[in-house]
Amino acid sequence: MATTPLTLRELSKKEVLLTAGHRMCSGCGAPPVVKMVLLASEYPVVAANATGCLEVCTCISEYTAWKIPWIHSAFENAAATIAGVETMYRSLKKQGKIDKEIKFIAFGGDGGTYDIGFQSLSGAMERGHDMLYICYDNGAYMNTGIQRSSATPFGADTTTCPAGSVVPGKLQKRKDITKIMAAHGIPYAAQASPSHWQDLMKKVKKALEIKGPKFMNIIAPCNRGWRSATDDAILLSRLAVETCYFPLYEVENGATKITVTPREKKPLVDFLKPQGRFKHMFAPENEWMLKQAQEDVDKEWEKLQREAKASEVS
């Protein structure tokens, strides 16, 4: 299969499969992620979408922004739904009723992935469906009004865990979904960021060439929930990478590889400061929160580096 080089010149010649005119908020990080994912594929793609921002804003009857076959069923079942589509494909292929090479992708937000869709996702990965699951991670239930999810970072102010006078926001760390998915023993799990679009698209390309279940967690800033400037999605996703809050790596057949190492690891406050959801952490009485958040990031980053090193040796 001829592959399109990952250059803007070549990519600009390809059709964008999520059309303009959808109703996502201006400045939302999710549509560029979806566009990049679909642009990276050299194959026809059939997609499933969990209930969420991306779903409600891209297919409002009688309009659809999707130029590919697309299905939305419920919040927690995008993985099971695409597993059904993929299984029908295998059945019809086996029977000689279809011959084209088609790729299957599920899109879910962090709520539909880390939380309510977790079981469905885990099951689909274990069963080995030939599919790529993409989580666009904005760290809360943004569609329903910025409620806390298990992807919400420590300290964040959300509508269900507001920064109150007794409880200053979310006091738990977020779930490490990418490593949990890698621990399923799937051939490919990775993290990506739209700020590093070549890295993101390279990972999608690689994932689609691998047979079996693949998982990618992609950071997708939400200016409504993060309370940040409308045009800061790419800047913030870059800061997430450069502060090592959201490191870019892949786990291929069990081997961890950091794909983007920041030249200089920036302090976490660079990522937190531009976001209103962390504002209370900068109050003098909450200094401990900034400290703890930084320590958590440092610990995870060191651990990831150790894992990458161990993979190099073996």
């Binding site: 009688e62 590919i68 697309w70 299905i71 069923s73 059904g84 299984t87 029908m88 295998r90 099951g123």
Partner: protein
């Protein structure tokens, strides 16, 4: 013609599914599990079917995978029971609202709490308004026959709705009966080649499934669903006619037994109808004009036809193997009462709740009910409209 066998309900339905040979099957063994899907899994792994099977991690995912597989463009099955059906609840509406003709045998069993696993109709009754077609089966032969006919009904171009085939847990699912199987080729000719409508796998013609539809159009979709429901009865009768040609067995929207000249009657679903028919015979021998009506197509409920069939009776008891907590009566009673309401002259109706959680329904129960109906027909007086029977006081 096919062969005569002695098999359980599970075995017979699994055999029907093997003969239909669907493209995809999804299954999960929630408690209470039946061996229907185990048998089907064995067909898959021994190359007896072309089916790809998805052994999911929950019944919720089973129905979700069925939705995806059916929208992809092929024939899809699953099976469930009790808690499994309850867990699927959310996706049942998505399957029907998306107009996907998924076929699902439901082995009717009690719902928890308390955890029970034995036969009653609480599960399917809980899902009766989910927009699915429901065919109910008295015995193993009917479960087998209904399963085969369900594909033709559900996939009919005027219908395109999912269908449940209900059979009683243990009493039918796990008991051995003598039945007749059709030949494989008779079944495959009868169901025919699956004709996908707007399949997702047609990548040249991309379609979007499952849009958001706000107040401007949502209600039109519901109205369209209701309109499709009103067409199901005719298709059920047409399919039954074709089925009679290959099987010699007659099916309608419901079965009547010695009802035409009856004064009193019992309305009852599934296996308990068999027991009741025996007791009706005994009453007929005593000169009492008793009869029975057993719904087969329960959703959509054929109100007009059932009203016509019952309106001439003096007294009728509707026996429900499920309760509708907080409603006036059991679910079947409510439907029968609605069927009879338009008639100025209509039978007196009473309601008994029986057989919950596998409690046996004995000939003695039918006798008591019929004796009460004799009395009501004579005096016109009712003691109590709704009552649990076969239960400790």
């Amino acid at each position: 013609m096919g062969k005569v066998v002695a098999v359980t309900g599970n075995e017979a339905v699994a055999e029907a599914l093997r003969q239909v040979n669907p493209d995809v099957c999804a299954a999960y063994p929630i408690t209470p599990q039946t061996d229907m899907m185990q048998r089907f899994g064995s067909f898959v792994n021994n190359g007896k079917v072309k089916t790809e099977i998805i052994l999911t991690e929950s019944e919720h995912s089973s129905m979700s995978a069925c939705v995806g597989a059916s929208a992809a463009g092929g024939r899809v099955i699953t099976a469930t029971s009790s808690q499994g059906l309850a867990l699927m609840f959310e996706i049942l509406f998505i399957a029907s609202g998306t107009r996907l003709p998924i076929i699902m045998p439901v082995v009717n069993r009690a719902l928890s709490a308390p955890l029970n696993i034995h036969g009653d109709h609480s599960d399917a009754m809980g899902a009766r308004d989910a927009g699915w077609i429901q065919l109910w089966s008295e015995n193993t032969q009917e479960a087998y026959d209904n399963t085969i006919q369900a594909f033709r009904i559900a996939e009919h171009p005027d219908i395109r709705l999912p269908a449940m085939v209900c059979l009683d847990g243990f009493i039918i699912s796990h008991s051995i009966e003598r039945i007749e199987y059709l030949d494989d080729n008779e079944v495959s000719n009868f169901v025919g080649e699956y004709k996908p409508v707007n399949p997702m796998l047609d990548i040249e013609h991309p379609v979007s499934y499952g849009p958001l539809i706000l107040p401007d159009y949502y209600m039109e979709f519901r109205k369209a669903h209701d309109a499709v429901m009103s067409k199901v009865s005719k298709v059920v009768l047409d399919v039954a006619k074709d089925f009679e040609k290959i099987s010699g067995r007659k099916y309608g929207l419901f079965e009547t037994y010695r009802l035409e000249d009856a004064d009193i009657g019992i309305v009852i679903l599934n296996s308990a109808a068999g027991t009741t028919k025996d007791v009706i015979d005994e009453f007929r021998e005593k000169g009492i004009k008793a009869g029975l009506l057993k719904p087969r197509l329960y959703r959509p409920f054929p109100y007009k036809e059932i009203g016509e069939a019952l309106k001439h009776l003096k007294a009728v008891c509707v026996l429900d193997r499920a309760d509708a907590f907080g409603a006036s009566h059991g679910p079947l009673y409510i439907d029968i009462a609605s069927s009879l309401y338009p008639y100025e002259k209509r039978p007196i109706l009473i309601n008994k709740i029986y057989g919950l959680g596998g409690r046996d329904y004995m000939p003695g129960h039918a006798e008591l009910v019929l004796n009460e109906l004799v009395e009501i027909a004579k005096t016109g007086k009712i003691n109590v409209v709704k009552e649990y029977i076969g239960v400790r006081e």
